[in-house]
């Protein structure tokens, strides 16, 4: 499916661009973190311990002032807490290890990002190819519907749609952790909560971009001689769509999909931040928790946010690389996240 010319172009652009290399490294690190989180994490990310709450990151000393009654008199007692390597990123207000939570949070972000993009690609490309290939009323109808969808910001539409899944069994499903199942690690959660409802929603609110771009491709490919030839040889519309139109419109779809993974991760973190995601193990959710402790424990809100930035920067760099290598004409126009 990938021609030699495309491969060469990708390689050439990759060797030329420092940014592409940085992007690849960042994405690989996040990906490996997500997969092997139970092996790397020092603690169970959901385990609470109130005597260990609000411990600062390793190397950071943090002083609290408390009023205590000593011998019947009120005194200010300063308590110094020093972060240690036992909790490299410190702990949150419930004493959960922030480093472990950041590692496991990568799973949520990547799964929702990739899953949501798959939903958007599946719906959007399907609709777009059919609209562009058949044209006429089908095209008009589908594209007017796309216009209506576009009248809503992705985040607002997603907020309105999460209600469909609220309280239902599909809002979140538990996926057993294969490593824990196989008995390779101890003391880690046995299953991972996958926010299925949220994944479908973030996919649905982003399908239009794929529909538009694949429609445009289908419109132009439809006019090509080889499509006309295939048709005159008696190939069915479905065969032509699958064998000719889809493969030839893949390039811009892949570039857009890469950027959309980043946009969807941002959208997921926003919805988790607002508490609408159905999972409590997510970078956005942790930022929301830390927001209440800004004046005292700055690390709870800060560190998970850095994880989001690193991940999204990595994916955007990969997106830039693919765009520069595959399609210089695509620059800049992509769907909205957040």
């Amino acid at each position: 499916m990938i021609s030699d010319r495309v491969k060469q172009s990708l390689k050439r652009e990759f060797s030329r661009s420092v940014m592409a290399k940085i992007g690849l490294v960042l994405v690989l690190v996040v990906l490996l973190t997500a997969i092997f989180a139970p092996f790397i994490a020092p603690h169970d990310p959901t385990q609470q311990g109130l005597e260990e709450s609000n411990i600062p990151p390793a190397g950071v000393t943090y002083t609290t002032e408390e009023f205590q009654m000593v011998d019947g008199e009120r005194q200010t007692v300063e308590t110094e807490t020093r972060g240690s390597l036992d909790h490299p990123f410190g702990t949150d207000a419930l004493g959960r290890d922030l480093f472990s939570r950041v590692l496991f949070g990568a799973r949520t972000s990547l799964l929702v990002g990739l899953g949501g993009t798959a939903v958007a690609v599946g719906t959007g490309v399907g609709v777009g190819l059919v609209a562009g290939y058949f044209g006429g009323r089908v095209d008009d109808g589908l594209m007017r519907f796309a216009d209506i969808m576009l009248a809503f910001p992705a985040l607002v539409l997603a907020l309105a749609l999460v209600g469909f899944f609220r309280g239902s069994d599909y809002q979140a499903i538990a996926i057993p952790d294969p490593f824990v199942r196989a008995g390779l690690v101890d003391g880690m959660p046995e299953s991972f909560v996958f926010p299925l409802g949220l994944t479908v929603v973030v996919g649905i609110v982003n399908w239009v971009w794929f529909a538009r771009i694949s429609r445009g491709e289908a419109l132009s490919i439809r006019q090509e001689e080889y499509v006309k030839a295939a048709k005159s040889l008696g190939a069915s519309d479905w065969t032509i769509l699958r064998q000719h139109v889809l493969p030839n419109s893949l390039t811009p779809i892949i570039v857009l999909a890469t950027i959309q993974v980043a946009a969807i991760i941002l959208l997921e973190s926003s919805l988790s931040f607002l508490g609408f995601s159905g999972t409590t193990l997510s970078w956005g959710f942790d930022i929301a928790q830390g927001r209440d402790y800004l004046g005292t424990s700055w690390w709870i809100a800060s560190i998970p946010g850095l994880a989001i930035v690193v991940t999204v920067v990595g994916i955007n760099l990969l997106g830039d690389w693919l765009r520069d290598a595959l399609d210089p004409g695509l620059e800049g126009e992509h769907g909205g996240g957040m």
């Binding site: 809503f152 809100a301 946010g305 957040m338």
Partner: protein
């Protein structure tokens, strides 16, 4: 097709899309699980009361009757009553609108002030430190979740440095201006600005970053074209070449993309408002979704959708004015 026919056609299309928006929003409530009677009737209400509530809300009617009731209500400006507060949804929503519009405009102004110069510097000093700085900034800018940026600004600027307030909007722009004009009192405007800076920067950063990227790549494209060489050969000063010719041609695609990205601006405003406790449409929607106050959710969605359609028509018209090459099809 003349320019006016083009705009008229866009208007008619816009009305169709608005009708679609209303229909979609109606279906959304109809299809979302959960009976509104459960939220409106008292918890211990008997069947009789519940039936009465359902009748008051029109829920005992067939769905098409409910739909047309809602549609004709909307045409008369009636969005129903809030389930939680016994006020018309429309008056609650429109009371919140100015705060959101002010925030979105302020963010847009922040974005334009910072992005275009940065983009121009980046393109004209390619591969110099200034370019790397601007490119890195814009990359991080489009990759940062704005709610987190807002929280970090609160942490660093408000909590850390102790300047600028952390949240809320004690005074609107119009009352602040009235105070200044009628009482010559500057305090209102100062309060307004102090509370606006952090939210506007939070919301504006993503757009600043995005426009820097667009301006840079657009200008690099334009600078490579032969008319630039010809203009330089004529002896036109470089500054004039850059700002009068190249930048102007770069602006056309930027305006198109900005029109498309307006949704992102409003979506970003929703969450920025939440972070800064800003009393706009965004906090209203989030709270309404939390308590399933459907008339408010529906009304806000329609206001946003209609606003988006209208602004896009305006962008198209502006685009047609700016670019003589545009075909009115």
């Amino acid at each position: 097709m003349s320019q006016y026919q083009f705009i008229l056609r866009r208007l008619l299309q816009g009305i169709l899309v608005i009708w679609g928006v209303v229909t979609l929003v109606f279906l959304l409530r109809y299809m979302t699980p959960g009976n509104p009677v459960d939220f409106v009737a008292p918890l211990d209400a008997g069947q009789e009361t519940r039936d009465q509530v359902a009748a008051d809300l029109g829920l005992d009617q067939p769905v098409y009757v409910q739909y047309f009731d809602y549609l004709f209500g909307l045409i008369q400006g009636d969005m129903g009553y809030s389930f939680i507060r016994s006020q018309p949804a429309s008056s609650i929503i429109f009371a919140r609108l100015p705060a959101t519009i002010e925030l979105a405009l302020a963010a847009t102004i922040v974005a334009i002030i910072f992005s275009i110069p940065l983009g121009v510097i980046s393109a004209t000093r390619r591969h110099e430190p200034a370019d790397y700085a601007a490119t890195s900034f814009s990359l991080v800018g489009i990759s940062t979740p704005n709610f987190w940026l807002g929280i970090m600004l609160i942490l660093l600027v408000s909590v850390g440095l102790g300047i600028l307030p952390t949240s809320r909007r004690p005074i609107g722009f119009v009352p602040a201006m009235e105070m200044f004009i009628f009482q010559l009192e500057i305090q209102g405007i100062r309060t307004w600005i102090a509370h606006m800076i952090l939210p506007a920067v939070t919301l504006g950063t993503y757009f600043t970053a995005m426009i820097v990227r667009l301006t840079r790549s657009g200008m690099l494209d334009e600078l490579g074209k032969s008319y630039v060489l010809a203009t330089r050969a004529k002896g036109v000063p470089e500054t004039l070449v850059r700002y009068k010719h190249v930048l102007r041609n770069t602006m056309i695609p930027i305006i198109t993309v900005l029109g498309l990205q307006l949704g992102t601006l409003i979506g970003g405003a929703v969450i920025t408002e939440f972070v800064f406790n800003w009393p706009g449409l965004g906090t209203l929607i989030i709270n309404a979704i939390d308590v399933r106050d459907w008339p408010i959710i529906q009304g806000s969605l329609i206001v946003i959708g209609v606003g988006f359609v209208i602004i896009n028509i305006a962008v198209d018209a502006l685009y047609a004015k700016l670019n003589p090459k545009v075909s009115y099809e």
